[in-house]
């Protein structure tokens, strides 16, 4: 380990945390002890990433890792959490809202629910106790630890997360929402781990929200593994609205079998430092992936999106579209990497990153990248960086719309290319409303993306068009 990295207080805490969670005192995930131990070794070998590494050249963690974070290794009382932190009443399972707090699963009665059609939803830790074979078959197989320090750290230290199992031929109509909330009395380090398994011909909509409740500093390291069986289909949304003192590193690793369909959409509204990594492996013919994202950043915010798509077999299609609006001193990074392996003939892949930069101090580092070994493929990539279109601004203003609102309208429209692809009406309206609020500077970091809530005011989807 280099000298520079010794200034990271968390490094001193990690051995204690590991002892408390995995060692003698720890009780959950006994069967994963070897996996966790080897993950810790991987992390110790890799260390936290630094700017000398190719994939981290434009994202500097030095500042956000300079704080002495703590980790909630001990159990806490569910009742207290429910009352204190969650504004909205935690819903029963039929409304499909799941809550994580400090990386732990929050529940009222039972941590794990088994529905009539065989669907299992609930705490990963509980699932591991009850269905160890099911969990072990997939856990850690897609989010690799050997070359990814955050995946390694998460694997070694995670406390809990969401587990979902959808059996063959089951289509879950109602969206499932996972809310991971930070914001406590201390600077907290959170390792959240989720495992989503979709068997053949099944279907799920998953909304993963990272929210904060106050302005307390936090660092969340979230890893989600998604396995799609043949012809399975998932709509996956990441909604991120955390305070400017908080950092979020969110990894999603997806393994796709034949004719499966992934639609993942990241809506990044606010955050001090956010880095999303998507690893998608198209491992069965006819598989398709849409990987979309929109990011709105201002002040000193830093938003980094890394997308890695592996076309491992022939006849797969993938489509990437990321759009960003950067104001003030904000910085963003886009790194798209499409790998088309030698045998992956008739691959169809596109990659696009478009940005609007509102000031001369804001900055985007964008790097679309294709690595192609097959000869019969159609791949495209592109990146644009620009300002708001002057001729469009004049056109709108000529219709009597003020300059501020004209700019707002154009920015909103720019983001809408991504947000309008949200398939759930109520979620799309909610997100579009949040985007408008964000662009007007009215979005609070405490505005959550919850779909169902006991407070009806939060669900007023009426959009006042005069204010756009």
């Amino acid at each position: 380990m280099s000298k520079e990295l010794n200034s990271i207080p968390v490094l001193d805490s990690i051995p204690q945390w590991f002892d408390a969670i995995v060692g003698k005192e720890g009780n959950a995930f006994k069967g994963l002890q070897n996996v966790r131990t080897s993950a810790l070794e991987d992390f110790n070998r890799l260390g936290f990433p630094n700017k000398k590494m190719e994939k981290w050249r434009s994202t500097d963690l030095k500042n956000v890792l300079s704080f002495d974070y703590s980790m909630a290794t001990k159990d806490f009382l569910m009742k207290d959490i429910l009352e204190e932190v969650f504004e909205c009443e935690v819903q029963e399972l039929d409304s499909y809202v799941m809550n994580l707090y400090k990386g732990r699963f929050v529940y009222k009665e039972s941590p794990l629910h088994i529905l009539d059609d065989g669907v299992i939803v609930g705490s990963l830790s509980a699932a591991f106790d009850k269905y160890p074979e099911l969990v072990e078959k997939h856990f850690g197989k897609y989010a690799k630890t050997e070359n990814n320090a955050f995946n390694a750290l998460n694997t070694a230290l995670f406390l809990d997360g969401l587990f979902v199992y959808i059996p063959k031929n089951v289509k879950v109509e109602k969206p499932l929402q996972l809310i991971n909330a930070v914001g406590t009395t201390e600077d907290v380090f959170v390792q959240n781990r989720n495992l989503i398994i979709l068997e053949e011909n099944s279907q799920l909509t998953l909304i993963h929200c990272d929210d904060s409740y106050n302005y307390k500093r936090s660092f969340t390291n979230s890893v989600t593994e998604i396995v799609l069986g043949a012809n399975a289909s998932i709509d996956h949304y990441r909604l991120q609205n955390i305070n400017n003192n908080s950092s979020l590193k969110s990894t999603v690793a997806v393994e796709q079998a034949r004719d499966s369909r992934l639609n993942t959409n990241s809506i990044i509204l606010n955050g001090g430092l956010i880095r999303n990594e998507s690893f998608v492996t198209l491992n069965g013919e006819g598989a398709h992936a849409d990987i979309l994202g929109v990011y709105l950043a201002d002040k000193n915010q830093h938003i980094d999106n890394q997308v890695y798509v592996d076309h491992a077999v022939p006849h797969c299609t993938s489509n990437e579209l990321f759009k960003g609006i950067l104001d003030d001193y904000a910085r963003a990074v886009f790194n798209g990497h499409i790998l088309v392996r030698r045998d992956a003939q008739e691959t169809l892949a596109s990659q696009n990153n478009a940005n609007i930069i509102l000031t001369d101090k804001a900055m985007i580092n964008t790097k679309p990248f294709l690595e192609i070994y097959a000869d019969d493929v159609k791949c495209s990539h592109g990146a644009t960086v620009g300002q708001l279109d002057d001729s469009a601004l004049f056109y709108i203003r000529q219709r009597g719309i003020s300059e501020d609102n004209a700019r707002m309208l154009l920015m909103y429209a720019f983001a809408a290319e991504v947000t309008q692809k949200i398939k759930i009406d109520s979620l799309r309206e909610r997100v579009e409303d949040m985007v408008k609020k964000r662009l007007r500077g009215e979005l609070s970091i405490c505005d959550q993306c919850v779909l169902q809530c006991s407070n009806p005011e939060k669900y007023n989807f009426e959009i006042d068009m005069s204010k756009i």
Binding site: L410, A413, S466
Partner: protein, 252 residues
């Protein structure tokens, strides 16, 4: 007087485009401004609408007696000036409904009126669509996105109908239109004519004036109005061509 332009000189990047324009438009009148390409017609339209990038070096533009030089374009629009664009801009992601509603409400707000009730707004959209014979659904379509040339021009007149301006300046609205679309556009303009508003039609060809009959025709040449007359001037111009203007100007 609705619009009064006095000795207007305008430059772009130091190059003088308009060299002393004089023009007076009263309520209830239709004016046609003709002239060869590159003679300053669009510049005049843009300057009246308040587009940036033009430098007024001399003269003034009075609208309802007020000097509008320092007014931002949106305020001019709110005051009742409408520009029908030669090249309407595509705005992906902004629906026509949203655009028109925002536009109408901002204009109403400027005049101290409440926002238009949803029902009234929708009724108005339907009524005005009919006026310009738009059959396609506009509700969810983005402004001008994927519209054909003719549809874009119809859409300009549709917006004019929605906003009911006091002064409409139509910049080459006839260019690129087939005869059917031309008839529809002209029809729309004629139906919108009242004793309280005025229209300035900028065109290269006489053809449009078969449908929109002007009270006055002005010929713009090298940044100046070189000839003004009644509608018969347009016919004379059509017959003799712009070379005739050139010669006439040289004679003086």
């Amino acid at each position: 007087m609705l619009l009064q332009i006095k000795n207007l000189h305008v430059s772009i990047n130091g190059k003088e485009i308009l060299r002393g324009i004089n023009l007076e438009v009263n309520k209830g009148e239709v004016h046609a401004i003709m002239g060869p390409n590159g003679t300053g017609k669009s510049t005049l339209a843009n300057v009246i609408a308040g587009k940036e990038g033009y430098e007024i070096t001399q003269g003034e533009i009075l609208y309802n007696g007020k000097d509008i030089q320092k007014m931002p374009p949106e305020v001019r629009a709110q005051e009742g000036i409408f520009l029908g664009f030669q090249y309407p801009v595509e705005i992906p992601g902004v629906s026509m409904t949203n655009f028109m509603r925002t536009s109408l409400n901002e204009i109403r707000k400027y005049h101290g009126q409440e926002p238009i009730p949803a029902k009234e707004f929708l009724a108005r959209m339907a009524e005005k669509k009919e006026l310009v014979e738009i059959t396609a659904k506009l509700t969810n379509r983005s402004v001008n996105e994927g519209f054909s040339g003719g549809e874009k021009k119809k859409n300009e007149i549709y917006q004019m109908a929605m906003l009911e301006p006091q002064l409409a300046i139509l910049d080459e609205t006839d260019s690129g239109l087939d005869i059917d679309a031309l008839r529809i556009v002209a029809n729309g303009v004629n139906k919108l004519k009242t004793s309280e508003n005025a229209t300035v039609v900028i065109t290269h060809y006489q053809r449009l004036l078969d449908y929109i009959v002007p009270d006055f025709v002005h010929v713009l040449f090298e940044g100046k109005v070189v000839l003004s007359g009644g509608k018969e001037l347009a016919l004379e111009l059509e017959e003799k061509g712009y070379d005739w203007i050139k010669k006439e100007t040289e004679k003086r």
